[in-house]
Symmetry: D3
Subunit: 319 residues, 6 copies
Amino acid sequence: MTTHHGYGDIKLYAGTGNPALAQKISDYINIPLSPWEIIDFPNENLFIKLGGSVRGQDVYIIQSHSRPVHRNIMEMLIAIDAVHRDSAGRITVVMPYLAYSQSDKKDQPRVPITARLMADLIEAAGADRWMTIDLHADQIQGFYKIPGDSLYAFHLITEYLKEKDLSNSVVVTPDLGFAKQGRNYAAELNTPLAFVEKRRMGNTGKKSALSLIGDVKGKNVIIVDDLVDTGGSIVKAVNLVKEYGALDVSLVFTHAVLSGSALSRLGDAPIKEIVTTDTLPISAEDRLPNMTILSVSELLGEVIIRSHEGRSVGELFNE
Amino acid sequence: MTTHHGYGDIKLYAGTGNPALAQKISDYINIPLSPWEIIDFPNENLFIKLGGSVRGQDVYIIQSHSRPVHRNIMEMLIAIDAVHRDSAGRITVVMPYLAYSQSDKKDQPRVPITARLMADLIEAAGADRWMTIDLHADQIQGFYKIPGDSLYAFHLITEYLKEKDLSNSVVVTPDLGFAKQGRNYAAELNTPLAFVEKRRMGNTGKKSALSLIGDVKGKNVIIVDDLVDTGGSIVKAVNLVKEYGALDVSLVFTHAVLSGSALSRLGDAPIKEIVTTDTLPISAEDRLPNMTILSVSELLGEVIIRSHEGRSVGELFNE
Amino acid sequence: MTTHHGYGDIKLYAGTGNPALAQKISDYINIPLSPWEIIDFPNENLFIKLGGSVRGQDVYIIQSHSRPVHRNIMEMLIAIDAVHRDSAGRITVVMPYLAYSQSDKKDQPRVPITARLMADLIEAAGADRWMTIDLHADQIQGFYKIPGDSLYAFHLITEYLKEKDLSNSVVVTPDLGFAKQGRNYAAELNTPLAFVEKRRMGNTGKKSALSLIGDVKGKNVIIVDDLVDTGGSIVKAVNLVKEYGALDVSLVFTHAVLSGSALSRLGDAPIKEIVTTDTLPISAEDRLPNMTILSVSELLGEVIIRSHEGRSVGELFNE
Amino acid sequence: MTTHHGYGDIKLYAGTGNPALAQKISDYINIPLSPWEIIDFPNENLFIKLGGSVRGQDVYIIQSHSRPVHRNIMEMLIAIDAVHRDSAGRITVVMPYLAYSQSDKKDQPRVPITARLMADLIEAAGADRWMTIDLHADQIQGFYKIPGDSLYAFHLITEYLKEKDLSNSVVVTPDLGFAKQGRNYAAELNTPLAFVEKRRMGNTGKKSALSLIGDVKGKNVIIVDDLVDTGGSIVKAVNLVKEYGALDVSLVFTHAVLSGSALSRLGDAPIKEIVTTDTLPISAEDRLPNMTILSVSELLGEVIIRSHEGRSVGELFNE
Amino acid sequence: MTTHHGYGDIKLYAGTGNPALAQKISDYINIPLSPWEIIDFPNENLFIKLGGSVRGQDVYIIQSHSRPVHRNIMEMLIAIDAVHRDSAGRITVVMPYLAYSQSDKKDQPRVPITARLMADLIEAAGADRWMTIDLHADQIQGFYKIPGDSLYAFHLITEYLKEKDLSNSVVVTPDLGFAKQGRNYAAELNTPLAFVEKRRMGNTGKKSALSLIGDVKGKNVIIVDDLVDTGGSIVKAVNLVKEYGALDVSLVFTHAVLSGSALSRLGDAPIKEIVTTDTLPISAEDRLPNMTILSVSELLGEVIIRSHEGRSVGELFNE
Amino acid sequence: MTTHHGYGDIKLYAGTGNPALAQKISDYINIPLSPWEIIDFPNENLFIKLGGSVRGQDVYIIQSHSRPVHRNIMEMLIAIDAVHRDSAGRITVVMPYLAYSQSDKKDQPRVPITARLMADLIEAAGADRWMTIDLHADQIQGFYKIPGDSLYAFHLITEYLKEKDLSNSVVVTPDLGFAKQGRNYAAELNTPLAFVEKRRMGNTGKKSALSLIGDVKGKNVIIVDDLVDTGGSIVKAVNLVKEYGALDVSLVFTHAVLSGSALSRLGDAPIKEIVTTDTLPISAEDRLPNMTILSVSELLGEVIIRSHEGRSVGELFNE
């Protein structure tokens, strides 16, 4: 690896949000994780002490916003402060899954835009760059003034899917907000496209009706989304396409947030295969038998190397 | 009108981007436009001189980013600077149409996010607040750290449409990126929904194929979008729904950008009615016979009053 | 109450960190708490929606950093963002207990200064002012560029203590870092002063030896500190002064953090009275029989009024 | 060329403001211009895509503020944003001619200081350094907080003039604001000095009277200025010195803004030679027969090299 | 006086730089100076304590940068910090004479621009606005991002001079950098204009030759400048015009810096009258018999009132 | 020495605050001081011109805040500006003694926090890093957002003291604010510990009573503090421990501020040895016969080298 002298050496720090992924990244780029102490005091305050100096070095703090979410966000911010105050040469915060991305606009009055707040907090803490995968909306890139790498699991996932027979498949999005990305999947997999439409009913807006726009009858359905949280909507989508005559139903999403009773919901639904990634940790007991977990570690590792060496990340995807 | 003493008196300044709209706003809130000199020197440099002091006043600079776009953006920034240096109490920049909103993400490597740059320029110039209508993506709200009012022509347009017989109508979006907003129109108008899907063909990506997802046969189609620029895509959508058996086709959009040969394209297409607004000026000769132009002046005027008096804007829409 | 027109009306928002205290403040200044929705989603993300507009108003967000600490910090930051984006006139964040105040310096290399980071986060979120009680170190005031009110429970506590017979009392601090504040207590209560000194033993620094500097024999001891966390050090101090011949031992501290087994430790120790405040919530079952809880609500309420009216806070204490 | 490792490699980008000059700079420092796409959409919005990655590189964006001025300013700002978001190591914006430099003060109330606004915009976009030639006032350097190189065509021009017989020459400035720089020319060329004084007449200030202070009779006059815009003042100055008995009159200025009817005015005036530079492009048809155009490309190229290598620019001029 | 409620009440603080002027301003606007303690500790550190609260008030800190210059600058910055931390509503720093204005550009490499640094320091300390008189260069206005009032003693001085018989007078500037302002004096006083030109001789640049451009023979000369420092140049100019046949010579300047042996130089020179102002304090013993000191107190007082009330300052001068 | 290419070469500049120390640092790291001109003009304004370019270099400006304090602070800020505008690669300001550290909190209402203001000024001027020794309170580290090295003379001083027989010694602090650091000295020197307590008497607070907490009888006392200013308190402490039966009394402090009659006070007091450092210059005539001055030059030199090379500073102290 050619070193870009301006940024010192690569230093990798693994937050507690997804240590297994951090280790895989470390293995890929063949640089060990740097040691640090992270202590949770009884009063819940976090304490961090770097195991060695990062003066003038090119530091990457790897922290996924897994549960407990707020503790892990704060751990990340404190880590940035510690590294900044030790006079690091450059600080990149690597967030395979970035929390609060769904709060990306004021779609009603008197609410915050927490995804922008997150950017403000990260910049205020002292980060120089950021890196993440599959933002809920690409516009969140623009919430940051500091430069960053907004990556996609798209190639990873479509490479995996293209090894299958997709001749009788159709891509379906469970949400109209994901329609454009659904189109990208359908185009890359060379399938037709359909959508689940959700419409609120009555005045209270509590109840909603689902309908399907497009055709799934007698076809294998691939439902695609950026993340699955409680699994409520997605399982309703699975059932809806089944009602409309779908054959096998597969589920594809990047971020396995899997809150509340998501796992039992997914386990009970008529789903052939669930394809996801390790941007968030999935414990051994949470891995459903039909789950395929692709690793984003090579993607992140390659981008860290290119970022450090001053080489193009775009050409990694022939862009 | 109750005055909020903290912000002085309302002062309205009309940029050259849409003086007719500014005048209507002025009429609505019954406060005359403040005089200023705006000179275009032979070297193209702009000069602005306020006609009176704005010390401690609540200033609203109304500037739509009509053609010439860059001159009008710069006029707006210079106006902010002039008002700021005259010690205004608060500066709100009112941009009925905000240019560069389509450059809101890096959807390919090595490109700018000009919509964020616009926010940075406006904040750097010294604005305290912003106001706009129908952003291309709501996330652009988060590009601003200063607070703002992101308004919608939705109520204005749907009120107008609901006076018609929509019993056999369907809402169609010409672009999957507008699918969710299309759903909102369909829900408010109580119609079904369909989409035009555009997919690139071949390696070069120059050619693309259109298809329709959903059903329009024997129905009156209302094509909805946020803006019409060259009109190329929208006219293709009109023709596509006609091919699929649509009866009457109407076109609904907020921002009449109408670049290049848009007017002749729209004039030649089989469109029954074009419904748009005056966020951008449309000269008398450009008004097609089937064009209905709704005015956003009452909406903007009402929000300016409420903003000045410290009253809720959200409740204007029962939110 | 005279209103300072520049700041609109007072709006009080109660975070979930200490709602009982917020209610008492509201009662004192006779202004109801403003309604808002705070939702904890299954994915742990927080959602806030203000119940009404705060445009141009003088907003006070009352949030103590009680458990769960990081969730409550994030709730506070999100609330600031929501209020800022709704164009509040002025935003004061009232933190009766400010977390992370003990991380106020780099007393070893390669650690963060999280108390400064907290200030950076609060300023980045958009607060205009801050208010807190009994900072761990007064210098933390200087971590903020925005102005603030750093208040003291000192008068409240010493007024309470001076109603007792203190003729045979001595003030003791359990930590040399609190020596100067201990002197202030001793001076106000007109008692002598002594200190517990902690010194690390051996190379590892894990073990430490306690000794007493000053005289407590045959005296009633008042141990004073800013907070009690796990109670480990403080109970050791109680036992030490007992060994040195103290008669009755009382414990006085502002912030009842009371982590881990603090309550059982305090319950088992030979302590006559525990005097503390309600900067942090103490549930009914946690209230030890010998505990006196003074309320800081009048202090905070009075300062909010004076801050709003533009009157001196200092003269409240004859300063 | 020795590379300063901290700043990566030099990357030169040529804006559309003066491509010929950019090419000459590229030739001088023997580094090709980096490719990029610049598209003017029908709605006038600009799109930029870098042809390759600039991660960690030392980027120079060369953009002169020629016509269309506002488009070219915006192109420059968008280019800075694109390069910044691609994680460039350092960004220097090279503006051979900087627009709006004449708006450098509030010489009347309620006007902007657009030259400071320009600096704010450039810094907000993300530039790290700037470079320009012959600012209208040297104080404009101080409008920038980021460091920069404020260069002079003075040496280039005086070297050229000193090859002529100047024994019977006098330097004249057409404006008292340029008196001091006129003195520098006179001193370097070892000639006497005179000034044109313009004084407003009457109350309206529209009319003005010119007079000459100093002596030009029987002498060859060299009129010096920083720029010629419409040419109105300068041609009046030519005629005035002729009236006062000047022999040959030459015109010397750095920036050939040449707005409106400047060319015909200059062509008709009794001027022996016009000496200027290529900070702004002058098309073949605009080159008057008596025009000598000196190139600033070597000056800019040399300064770029020195800036990159961390060597003194001052010593280039023996300072 | 009408109060602008948004800024509370006027509070005037007098720094030690020119207490007599501050008192006169206080008298003019009929508001007493607010009390504060300013202590110079033996270690030279300054301590400031406001005598009363400024919460929400409209504060004016009056500080001229008289000797000791650096102490007085620091006193001003500390005062801003004290007032800011006491939650003032708005802070205006009034600097009748602003030090370091002559360091306003890099006219040679590797030097600072201290006048911009001064602006940065004032903004960093927390000032909201500034006010000053007769900047060395008007462009210094643009060094400030915060708004300000850049005032002129021009009207005050010319009103005074116009009461005399000026029919045989000529205005002379001792420096070409003041040529344009000299023209303004000449135009207002309806006199001709001449200049002293200084040109460096030889390589070292230590020696310089003076010459006169324009005509003074048999005329009364009024030498005008913004300030007199050591008086060296100005006395040379006096002697030069005398050599060229001037009759009476008067000296007019705003800022009486009067360093080193300025007073004796001025006292010895053939000067009829010295007209200056009280922007800087001139002790009784330093007042030469031929000195007329005009007070800027009414000018500053009037501008403070208008600034507070949100009224135009420009119209004070019919602009 | 290995060079970290990202930061260019080390450049050392010596301010006038402590040139002898700067020379020693230069000798230690074997890099000559870079030449610059520093001129004090008769009007007290300072002028700085760097003797050579610092483009892209790693610059260290060494300036102790000795007398005249405000001039030296301003010299430092101007030097930062000059170096910043010459495009230095990185700027570290080395302040062996940092003035105004005692103004580190609002311990009474309506006062500034000048130590934070100092940080703001330094950051506003353009410094990238800071370095200092023995801050009055370690929390002052957190006043800076830019990273820094807060060093201690502790090891230097205790190494010196440990060469003596300390078997019958006791460490005493003259101020309870220094109690914790006193404990560190006592622990390192393996001695007991005692404190002087100062308590205000009466209402005015002008008078105060001293008492001793702990035991000194028959022991050699080592009084430790961070600095000695006027020497008043410290000499009272010396006398107090003498009254309480101390044998030899030594005085240990880092910063020899020595204001007013400090030297005569110290000279007259019954002090065996005064141990201090050269963070501030002590002229030959001010060196009392019993004074030992340890040099911090090796400490600062070593930290500069490690900072430049990107190596740990903490491990210098086995931390």
